[in-house]
Symmetry: C2
Subunit: 141 residues, 2 copies
DNA sequence: TGTAGGGTCTGTAGCGGCTACAGGCTCAAG
DNA sequence: CTTGAGCCTGTAGCCGCTACAGACCCTACA
């Protein structure tokens, strides 16, 4: 199978290189139904079309944006088999955005505790490490 | 075993309630060596001392602060069997703090992409959902 | 035509950090 | 003496991959 026998038609390795996705991950996504099973050659090799690549790229970008797998399924219309409406997508995005903001808040609280305690300790000889003390007595949230 | 036969001496369930930790998690931490095996009654019931409770609280707080398990091991002196020096603790905290800040940065980039795209879409009838378009074409990082 | 090397195929096991059973034992209260 | 809660062990499952092993196939070069 050369690179040029048709404009499309990628092997699994080619798809992996084209998308930057780990080759095993592609198989994984097929197994869990995130990517449709591609057609095969006589010998059983997968042949991916550009539509597969587009879908995989979508999944990878959504993942970069922190969407959970079940959200990505929803965005792809895999939950009930119907294409999601614009309102669906909007709602899902807003919910995810709220989660992201909450997580930022959590991490900022963590950051301030860590920064405060690390500043107290120069790393030199100090009895009763203030960092360990802070961990044993700090409450986050 | 009553609650009052000695000042200390907790069963597993009591320890779980006292620390807010899931009872199974305690067993898990013992299995992976984060908590020492406690002494047992004749019938095999675990009896935890206050030192176990203190250690478990330490682990739980460190976890709340987002430390990875291997860092917590380090903070507890479980990596090489020696108590960590103040400098060790400081370095580990600074490294973790840097990780936390990096994660905050990642999430903020994600937030801005999500907020920007969600704002473009009212959820009403719009051709070519801008959210899906943004996902298919946005790069984070 | 043979062979070496890459790529691909399948199935399965492992990671971290738990969580949730099943099936049995023990303990305290009534 | 029974009942029900709690404890014991071992094992399996969760997510989202990742990494094999062992077999097959395909291409290039001699």
């Amino acid at each position: 199978m050369s690179d040029h026998d048709s404009e499309s038609g990628l092997t699994r390795g080619e798809l992996a290189r084209a998308t930057g996705c780990n080759i095993e991950t592609i198989r994984h996504y097929e197994k869990i139904g995130m990517l449709p099973d591609p057609p095969r050659t006589g010998a059983g090799y997968r042949i991916y079309a550009q539509s597969h690549a587009a879908r995989l790229r979508f999944i990878l970008r959504a993942r970069e944006l922190g969407f959970a797998m079940k959200d990505i399924r929803g965005l792809l219309g895999l939950e009930d088999g119907t294409a999601p409406t614009c309102a669906d997508v909007h709602a899902r995005t807003e919910r995810h955005l709220a989660d992201v903001r909450a997580k930022i808040g959590d991490l900022k609280r963590i950051e301030s505790v860590l920064a405060g305690t690390a500043a107290k300790c120069s790393g030199d000889e100090v009895p009763d490490c203030p960092v360990l003390d802070a961990i044993t007595s700090s409450f986050v949230r």
